[in-house]
Structure formats: structure tokens, C-alpha cells
């Protein structure tokens, strides 16, 4: 039995062609994958990515823990809402998953992980959290009396960020007056008083994620949800804001401007249909794949997995080896300089590059990790793992069926912000 997102019926009603996507019944396209691709590069499209999982990690010591758990350094996150892309590594440097971590507040970080790896990721996080707490109890020590009375004082007046978090969806969609919303927001709420374990790692399968991507994403989002404009118009790229029960991040997987909106599943179909009413075209996972490939973004399970490390996957920029901090996998990365690297390929002959095709270079053999047809460039492109000595501009041979076709090694991304870059 395939798993379904809360938008399954909406997809079918819109004529989606559904496929088994890692155990999920997901839309691959709603007609033409290429039209959907161009729609996102030139205008705006929306994707259901509710199969991805939201994990909240809360408690004193969470920053110390993430500093150790992730290859990128969460100390880069100082402003609430700011996001960071990172890999989570095994001790040997292999990639468990790639993820985005958001700094919500000093004792709360939100992580969005891939669907296929979510259960494995959470088990790993919990195991590492337990070991880290044992090895570094000082990170998790409860604060004494002074701090407690401080937090009691806070509950008297509602903090502005908490007020924003309580904004009801009905107000955002224009179905409630400001006065009614204010009454609800400032209603006295029971404070939680229960003691919590040092670190709470909770996943949220009850949340849905809708990505709105393209140069017109902003205006379309605001048209569908006028109440969100004031709170999102100054949102910097790779930052997020909590608005009512929604979490709106200016992130994406297409190389275009846009948002990824996390919201309660019960509200997802209404939001999806509101966007559709404003002319946002639904786009399937097929277009999402060609968009991310053109944008030079790695796909977990294809471009990297547990058998390779980030340095040989084009992700050195996400690994912080400069700071003193220790993290899982660091020793292995330092001990083993990479002998391979990820490069872009553009096919010079007619045909289509695909994953797992062999690449023959002057310095030895390599392999395509992701390949497809680029609708923006109108030719075939790929990411390939090749020997370190291969240089930009080199010509390589790719074995496609019974032929050897010529491809050129290029610097990627291939396309972003509506334009081809090759």
C-alpha cells in the first residue's frame, strides 16, 4: 500500500499522472513535465513535497548537539529563522542524508529531511543525542532558580514572536477580522509546566509541505494569502518565519526564488486550492528533478549516499573543516583527501545522459550520478563523479548503449533564475 499525502485527491482531480515514488503515491506530472519545468523558470509553479519530514529538536544543549551532529556549522545561524544546508555524516564520512536546518530559537531547531531516509535519520539523531548527552552532560545542565523566575516573568506578557505564531489561518486567508484574531491571539493560554527530557527529538508527519517556486512566487503567494504579505515581504533568501500555524521559508529546490510552506495537513488542500485559484500551476516531481539538476543541486540516493563523502559529491562548500569544533565524520574527511569529484557534463552529441552511465576520461573512469534532458538548455546534462584530475573544459566519452558519445566537462549550475548559464 503506497503512502499518500493529504493532497492525493487534489492531484488526481487536477489530472496528475501518479507514480510510486519511494513508497509514496506522488504526481510525476499533470500533463507535460517540460511545460511544468518552463512554468517554474518563467512564472510560478507549486509542488507537493509533503513526503519530506519535519523534525523539531528542542531543549537546552540543542546547539551543542547539532554542532557535533552536522558537517556544516550551526554557529553560522545567529538570527532566528535563518536556514543552513548540511550533510549528516557517518563516522567514516559517508552521507546519511542532506537536510536543511532552521534556527528557530536558542532551544529549538527545525530540520527538514528527505522522505526515504527520514526514519533512519531520526533513529540516528536519537542515538547520537543519547551518546552526546552522556559524554557532555555540561551542555544539558538545567539552569538554576534565577533563570526559572525569568521564564515565569515572560509568560505574563506575550512575546511578539509568540503572538505571531498564534495568528489563526482564518485571518491569513481573509476570513476573520483583525479584532477577532487579536482576541484569539491574546487569550490566556495554559503554560506547559511539565519537565522535559534534555533533548526532545520529535518528527511531524502531521505537517505538509508545499513549495511555491518561480519568479512570480511572491506575488502569487500574497494573492492567495493576503495576510501573509507583511510578514514575508522582507524575508531574506534562506530564511523562514512562523506565521500562525504555518512556517514559511524562502527556500526551494529549483534554482528559482520561492517558498516552501510547512503547514498542518488539515489545512493543506485549502491552501493548495487557494494557490491554484490564483493561477499557480501544479507541477510534478518530474519537473522538480530537471529543475534541481539544472540548478546543480544534489539528490540524495543518486548524487551521494552512505558510500561516498561530501567532498567527492560537490558539497565541500557545506562542510566546515576550518573551525576547531569536532563533528561526526570530521576525522575521516581529514584523513582521506578525495580522489574523485563531482562535475557537470553537457552532451555534445545527440542523446540523453542518464544515471550510472560510464564516463571515460583521460584520467580514468567515472560515472554519471544524475542525467537528464535540460529543457532550459535544450540539450542533455548530467552530474558525474570523475577522477580529481579531470578539468573544466575537458572532453570525455560517455557509454550510451552501444555507442561512445562526447560530453564536455562544465562548471555547474547549468541554469538558474530563468536563464541558462552554459
Amino acid at each position: 500500500m503506497l503512502k499518500r499525502t493529504p493532497l492525493n485527491e487534489a492531484h488526481r482531480a487536477m489530472g496528475a499522472k501518479m507514480v510510486d515514488f519511494g513508497g509514496w503515491d506522488m504526481p510525476v506530472n499533470y500533463g507535460s513535465q517540460i511545460d511544468e519545468h518552463h512554468q517554474v523558470r518563467n512564472d510560478c509553479g507549486m509542488f507537493d513535497v509533503s513526503h519530506m519530514r519535519v523534525v523539531d529538536i528542542k531543549g537546552k544543549g540543542v546547539r551543542d548537539f547539532l554542532r557535533y551532529l552536522l558537517a556544516n556549522n550551526v554557529d553560522k545561524l545567529t538570527v532566528p529563522g535563518k536556514a543552513l544546508y548540511s550533510c549528516m555524516l557517518l563516522e567514516n564520512g559517508g552521507v546519511i542524508d542532506d537536510l536543511i536546518v532552521y534556527f528557530m530559537e536558542e532551544q529549538w531547531f527545525r530540520i527538514v529531511v528527505n522522505a526515504g531516509t527520514a526514519d533512519k535519520d531520526i533513529a540516528w539523531m536519537r542515538q547520537q543525542a543519547a551518546e552526546h548527552a552522556k559524554a557532555h552532560p555540561e551542555c544539558y545542565a538545567k539552569s538554576e532558580g534565577g533563570a526559572e523566575s525569568e521564564s515565569c516573568a515572560e509568560s505574563e506578557a506575550l512575546a511578539p514572536e509568540e503572538a505571531v505564531r498564534r495568528i489563526p489561518n482564518a485571518y491569513l486567508f481573509g476570513d476573520m477580522s483583525q479584532e477577532e484574531a487579536a482576541a484569539l491571539i491574546f487569550e490566556k493560554q495554559d503554560e506547559e509546566s511539565a519537565e522535559k527530557p534534555p533533548l526532545e527529538i520529535a518528527d511531524h508527519p502531521e505537517l505538509s509541505i508545499i513549495a511555491i517556486q518561480g519568479p512570480k512566487a511572491k506575488e502569487k503567494l500574497w494573492a492567495a494569502m493576503p495576510g501573509s504579505q507583511q510578514l514575508t515581504e522582507k524575508l531574506a533568501p534562506f530564511s523562514a518565519v512562523v506565521v500562525g500555524t504555518m512556517f514559511i521559508a524562502r527556500t526551494g529546490y529549483t534554482g528559482e526564488d520561492g517558498f516552501e510552506v510547512v503547514l498542518p495537513s488539515i489545512a493543506a488542500p485549502y491552501f493548495w486550492n487557494s494557490l491554484a485559484d490564483k493561477g499557480v500551476e501544479p507541477c510534478g516531481l518530474g519537473a522538480r528533478d530537471t529543475l534541481r539538476l539544472e540548478a546543480g543541486m544534489n539528490l540524495y540516493g543518486q548524487d551521494m549516499d552512505e558510500s561516498v563523502n561530501p567532498l567527492e559529491s560537490g558539497l565541500a562548500w557545506t562542510v566546515d573543516l576550518k573551525s576547531e569544533r569536532d563533528f561526526i565524520g570530521k576525522a575521516a574527511l581529514l584523513a582521506n583527501p578525495p580522489s574523485r569529484k563531482l562535475v557537470g557534463l553537457v552532451l555534445q552529441d545527440r542523446g540523453v545522459l542518464r544515471g550510472h552511465q560510464k564516463v571515460h576520461t583521460a584520467h580514468g573512469e567515472g560515472e554519471i550520478t544524475s542525467g537528464s534532458f535540460s529543457p532550459t538548455l535544450n540539450q542533455s546534462i548530467a552530474l558525474a563523479r570523475v577522477p580529481q584530475e579531470v578539468q573544466i573544459g575537458d572532453e570525455v566519452q560517455v557509454a550510451i548503449r552501444d555507442k561512445m558519445l562526447t560530453a564536455k566537462v562544465v562548471k555547474y549550475p547549468f541554469a538558474r533564475d530563468g536563464k541558462g548559464l552554459i
Partner: protein
Amino acid sequence: MSNPNNLKYTASHEWVRSEADGTISIGITQHAQELLGDMVFVETPAVGRKLKAKEECAVVESVKAAADVYAPVSGEVVAVNSELDSAPEKINDDPYAAWMFKMKPDNAADVAALMDAAAYQAVVDSEAH
């Protein structure tokens, strides 16, 4: 779009049209193009190549995947549709007009023995379950 009654079909989703000059035109069916999605590349066999029935002889590639096309019967390739080189999307637009190659069959009886539209539809239906 239903499968035209005047064509013959194979279980590997090719359609076959008998031409007045004794040759046959071959393309892929509506069902096949729907499964593959947007076409981006077509590779046709060389003219003059002798093919055995069910031999791999052409390739269609969509954004999503590559698929082999098989010779429906034994015979010789006598023409290819080079229009598809620059416009492979014609297969999506009208799969029964977008022929890929023509053959001169070794035995006309082999063509007559291929599936008709109803038999082919049964194959498609059985795949859906």
C-alpha cells in the same frame, strides 16, 4: 485517444500500418507515449538494415526514461522519419501520425498475424492491473 482499427499492434507497444506499396510504417502507441511522457530524443535504424522480428532496432527517450523499439516482423528498413530528429515531441502530439521507420516485410503473412486493436487494448488493460 483510442487505438485506430486499421492498424496492427505488438505486445511491446509498436503500431504497424500497411502501406499501398507493400511496405509497413512503424511507430509507438498512445499508451507507450503516455507512459514515457515528453519525448526528447529518437534514434532510428539505418536504412538497409535487415531486422529479425522482435529485434531491438530503435530507441525513444523521454525526459524520464529511454525505451527500446522492436521490429514487429522480419524484414528490411527502407525509410526513416528524420523529422523526428528535431521534433521528437510529434510522438506525444499524435503518436499514430509520427511513424519512426518503414520496413519491407519478408512475409506479408507475418503482418497479418499481428494483434488487432481490440487484442492490443486487452494487453494494455492487463498491464494496468
